[in-house]
Amino acid sequence: MAEIKKKKASMFDTPYTLKNAFAKGDIFVRLSCVIMGLGNMVRKQVIKGLLYFLIEVAYIWFMVQKGVHNLAMLPSLGTVEQNKVWDEDQGIFVYTAGDNSVLILLAGIATLLITFLFACIWIDQMKSGYKALYLTRAGKHVNNFIEDIKSLANENIHKFLMFFPMLGIIFFTILPLLFMIPMAFTNYSKIGKHLVLFDWVGLENFKTTLGMGGKLGSTFWPVLGWTLVWAFFATFLNFFLGMLLAMVINRKDTKGKSVWRFIFVLSIAVPQFVSLLLMRTMFSQNGPINNMLINAGIVSKAVPFWTNAGWARFMVIVINCWIGIPYSMLQVTGILQNIPSELTEAARIDGANSVQTFFKITLPYIMFIMGPYIITQFTGNINNFNVIYLLSGGNPTPVGSTAGKTDLLVTWLYKLTIDYQYYNLGAVIGIITFIVLSIVALATYRNTASYKDEEAFN
């Protein structure tokens, strides 16, 4: 196994490494580590070299102007408070600008990220300078700038195609995460009025969140428990009931298969937020369902669908079934139609009855194909914000608690950050959610056929 890995890695190996650049490069290549692009400029790659040099100048200028200051502020996160000073001339209070820890943290993290990107470019130019030297020594052709541009449509096409998507991911996915994770280690929260100025507090927030004794800890564990219960029921009820429905419709004797299917698919086509709001309205205190029940004399007063914890939990799972069953029905139908008939025929000839055929052949076959999908569904349900937020809003909420009885970790995270402005606790919950998901995903994802057998089609 290790040997295969080595072999794979070597597929991309070139002699143009950082180590070789220093060990075997000439004076110009080595000097490139201070004057970026020098190694390229002396090998007639003037424009390329100049570009590298410009990047270096820009980076140094940025660091002198802002960067060093940004980094220096990072350990303290700012100390100057906003102050009111009486201005004699104007006769009013004038506010002197204080430090804003959020902006300091953001600027600091952004500077670190820019420095990291700069380091990548620096390594790249060292290699590039050495490559030019290496090719010259070997008497081979060195690409000029226009040829370099042209190579973006060929051997370097991935650099061209990935550039903008990567830029988006770095600044709108990675930077925000790098910015949020440190927040978990600060006291950035409405508690103690640390919304403008805050400080590093180490693992304090994790202790309060995970500690059983405190108020927060006694909220956290029940929410985590309900999140897992919800994810379990939401995933497996949907799957098994959907499968059952698919099999009933797919039976040989059922007439009008496509009509039945269409009826259920219709509910998928309605946008999810519409159907969720619709359901919330229908089951509300004065909504049509309660009206019908009262008018029919089944109940004497309105059923507390959203105000009783037990009912609310039951309802979100049931309504999630309403939304999810048609999906799994569609998928299982597709699989059922593709089951190799030799399998079931052979079983029948061997004398298996329909129940045996189902449990020994059909079900394992469906599970084999749907396995990875069910895992994704499970992780998706742990993060299923919309269903909970639009249906119950996490309610009913006990007095004095930050989380309601139907709140998942994600909706609680939302409430903690947006409603309560406990940003640090929100970040803690986010990190814990990530850990829970990673455990589920790492244990299962990497074992799916599609991950392992990537080259199967090639």
Partner: protein
């Protein structure tokens, strides 16, 4: 299968084919049909109710009866003409604008990344795929607040710049959602692309002229899903736009119609809005579904 079977019932002889039904089978089928009918009613009832309510003549929110006392088109008219309090036409145009731009960017990003991951082999490919998987595990809201601060630092949270902010939210990080497209591109036979390269095509031309045309279903699927995202999302826009009603999208507007301050006046127009929004989305969805299924089953045959 059509073996002739003879049975005796009440001294009389009936002949029928076995694949016609025996008594037990009739009963079983009856049960199945009854269950399917009940389920169909459960699944169609909410849709039926919202259509019914959208035509309801009586104003106000909840009524104590099911069937409306009168029917009218006024709710639809009100939705599109009464714009002082909640401006539905504007919400609709906002959503359309944002979804068109984010659709273009997202589609380009996903197709480019999908092509690189599937057809090319370079050093950072596997690390990137692992990175995309890890990033996908963080709850989206966790970074939402941070994204808001970044947009604010860029000056994109005021006035018309909010459109840019919304487009960026839906499209900027989309490069990580390449998995389905990659899976499809994987089925494009290597022999085709290699032949094209031998004929002097550049890699870019292989992408444009061979891989993309062969992958029409999945391209359509990508376009439609990315177009629909801003119509279906509700929470990102709530965090970024918040109380600034001029920039609400359809979903946020509809959420607010049911809030306490609006529900009395906007309950029946809300039902009308649900119908108005659902019809085009339902059509797009059906088209998308077909392309998705085609994409999965009718992959390129070499």
């Amino acid at each position: 299968m059509s073996k002739q079977v003879t049975t005796y019932a009440g001294g009389q002889e009936y002949k029928f084919e076995k694949n016609k039904m025996s008594g037990a089978r009739v009963a079983k089928n009856a049960v199945v049909y009854v269950i399917l009918t009940i389920l169909s009613i459960i699944w169609l009832f909410p849709i039926f109710w919202v259509v019914l309510t959208s035509f309801r003549k009586e104003k106000g929110s909840y009524t104590a009866y099911f069937w409306p006392k009168g029917y009218t088109f006024d709710n639809y008219k009100k939705l599109f003409t009464e714009t002082t309090q909640l401006n539905f036409p504007r919400m609709f145009l906002n959503t359309l604008l944002v979804s068109i731009f984010s659709c273009i960017i997202t589609t380009l990003f996903i197709l480019c990344v999908g092509y690189c991951m599937s057809q090319l082999r370079f050093r950072l490919r596997k690390p990137f795929m692992n990175l995309a998987m890890i990033l996908g595990l963080f709850p989206a809201f966790m970074s939402m607040v941070a994204v808001y601060f970044i947009l604010k630092a860029l000056g994109l949270t005021q006035g018309n710049m909010l459109y840019v902010a919304l487009v960026l939210i839906y499209s900027a990080g989309s490069g990580t959602g390449f998995y389905i497209v990659k899976g499809f591109f994987d089925t494009v036979p290597k022999s085709l692309t290699e032949a094209a390269l031998l004929d002097g095509c550049s890699m870019l031309q292989v992408f444009n002229k061979i891989v993309l045309p062969l992958s029409k279903p999945i391209v359509v699927y990508t376009i439609l899903t990315s177009f629909l995202a801003p119509w279906l999302d509700f929470i990102f826009v709530k965090v970024i736009v918040g109380a600034n009603a001029d920039y609400w999208t359809v979903s946020l507007g509809m959420y607010n119609m049911l809030e306490k301050e609006y529900i009395y006046k906007w309950y029946t127009p809300w039902a009308a809005a649900a119908v108005v929004v659902s019809i085009p989305i339902a059509i797009l969805f059906m088209v998308m579904q077909r392309n998705y299924v085609d994409g999965m089953t009718g992959a390129v045959k070499g």
